[in-house]
């Protein structure tokens, strides 16, 4: 295999971070497909320390030139760190580096949870059918744990702005509507109609302030053959807000993967029951409906942003095109469905 051009630069960086390390090398470095919001690489670091050989598998997450999702990597790093060792399984974060001198763009390095899968297509293709009930139970239990957690006790209110309980919905809707205003390449009558409806029918205040993962769906966690979940990934949209926002993101019809089941896994009512049990919170049906429609709009803003990054020339990678071509119309159809128009 050809050595990856980034490998010696990563090795040079790690040599400054591991005290007492010598002969440090980075091997088997490869980019993991996907990763439209960050470039993700896996590699193995080897070094000598105190007369012994050491080895550790790691993940590098580097900012791309222009991202599908513009986010604050410091927040993402802090969210991972806050939950490490808790009932919410996450990989251990090792180093955050915001100086672009090392690898041209900011990045962070984490441990690799090896030998696991994240692909929803693989999970739902039939080979894992016996494990799906366990995956589903764990998926919504862990989301309930995220919702239940106290952001202040986790230290996250020091890094992430905390909106008032009655302002969570407005802050999120304002943010994602601004993404349309900035990135849309064509008129979007369905999304705009949904935004008008959301503003005219605001949800009740959040029942508590929670950590919101922001992209908690099938495909963003690592699972094994027995259905256990070992790591929740992709916290780049993490923020503080209404816990129903996170529950509702997974109920965007896009994430049914054409199976008519929440997350492609089980009936929505069952998912809600698991989440309520784990979180100790209630999912008011009307409020949840608002957040599901909001998440359809948010999804559309992300796909529009992806197309916008390509059109404006900030990022011409094929991964920026595929979400737009595959999902823009499907997301419009999802909005119609949630609004009872399809």
């Amino acid at each position: 295999m050809t050595d990856h051009p980034l490998a010696p630069r990563v090795a040079a960086y790690l040599a400054t971070k591991i005290p007492g390390a010598s002969d440090l090398t980075v091997e088997a470095m490869e980019r993991i497909s996907g990763g439209a919001s960050r470039e993700t690489y896996r590699f193995r670091a080897r070094w000598r320390e105190a007369g012994e050989s050491r080895e550790r598998r790691m993940i590098l997450r580097r900012d791309p030139p222009a991202s599908l999702i513009e986010t604050e990597r410091r927040v993402e790093f802090a969210a991972y760190r806050a939950f490490h060792g808790s009932a919410v399984p996450v990989p251990e974060m090792l180093w955050l580096e915001e100086d672009p001198a090392h690898l041209d763009h900011p990045f962070f390095i984490a441990e690799e949870l090896a030998g696991l899968q994240a692909s929803p297509q693989m999970l739902l293709a039939g080979g894992y059918d016996a494990a799906l009930p366990k995956v589903a139970e764990r998926k919504w239990t862990i989301l309930g744990e995220i919702a239940k957690a106290d952001p202040k006790a986790l230290g996250l209110t020091e890094v992430i702005p905390a909106p008032p309980l009655d302002g969570c919905w407005r802050r999120e809707l304002d943010y994602w509507e601004a993404v349309f205003d900035r990135d849309q390449a064509e008129p979007l009558p369905i999304a705009r109609a949904a935004i008008r409806w959301l503003r005219a029918h605001p949800p009740p205040p959040a029942q508590k302030l929670s950590v919101v993962h922001g992209d908690y769906r099938t495909g963003n966690f690592l699972y094994d053959e027995a259905g256990e979940i070992h790591g929740v990934l992709d916290w780049e949209m993490a923020h503080l807000g209404d816990p129903l926002e996170d529950l509702a993101w997974g109920f965007n019809p896009i994430w049914e993967f054409g199976r008519g089941l929440a997350g492609g896994l089980l009936p929505r009512e069952r998912a809600i029951a698991i989440w309520e049990q784990a979180s100790g919170l209630k999912a008011d049906p009307q409020a949840l409906h608002w957040w599901i429609l909001f998440n359809c709009v948010k999804g559309q803003a992300i796909w529009v942003g992806s197309a916008g990054a390509f059109i404006k020339g900030g990022n011409k990678a094929p991964i920026m095109i595929y979400p737009a071509w595959w999902l823009l119309n499907a997301q419009d159809r999802a909005i119609l469905k949630v609004m009872g128009k399809l």
Partner: protein
């Protein structure tokens, strides 16, 4: 589809050329070419019907909006520019109908929006 197919095809040509050169790490080559293949498949699927879809939709929108005019230049870029103009007007018409409480008008607009997603539906659509 957005981004426009010609711009995407030009970029995919560059992706293929880059991956035809030696020295590209194998997993990255596999990932880029696999994604390129999927995009080419989608482009192939929509290409034949693209002009017909735009002409059909522009006619429907003109009728709904009482907009005079016709698609005389059948280049896709011109049809799409006309479509963008009409869909912009549709948003204004929908807002006006909502403000006036005109249920019949609103339902007519929703019917056209439903139809627009049927016209754009691809074979691998998730919804």
């Amino acid at each position: 589809m957005t981004p426009e197919v010609p711009a995407v095809l030009a970029e995919l040509a560059a992706v293929v050329a880059r991956n035809a050169a030696p020295g590209v790490p194998e997993p990255e080559r596999a990932s880029e070419l696999g994604l390129t293949a999927m995009l080419l498949g989608l482009a192939a699927e929509v290409w034949d019907g693209a002009a017909a879809r735009l002409v059909e939709e522009n006619r429907a929108l003109r009728a709904l909006l009482s907009d005079t005019g016709a698609d005389e230049d059948l280049r896709l870029s011109k049809l799409k520019a006309g479509n963008d103009r009409l869909r912009g007007k549709l948003i204004e018409a929908q807002i006006a109908a909502e403000q006036a409480g005109d249920q019949a008008r609103q339902e007519a607009i929703w019917a056209e929006l439903r139809a627009s997603t049927e016209r754009r539906k691809i074979s691998v659509s998730l919804v």
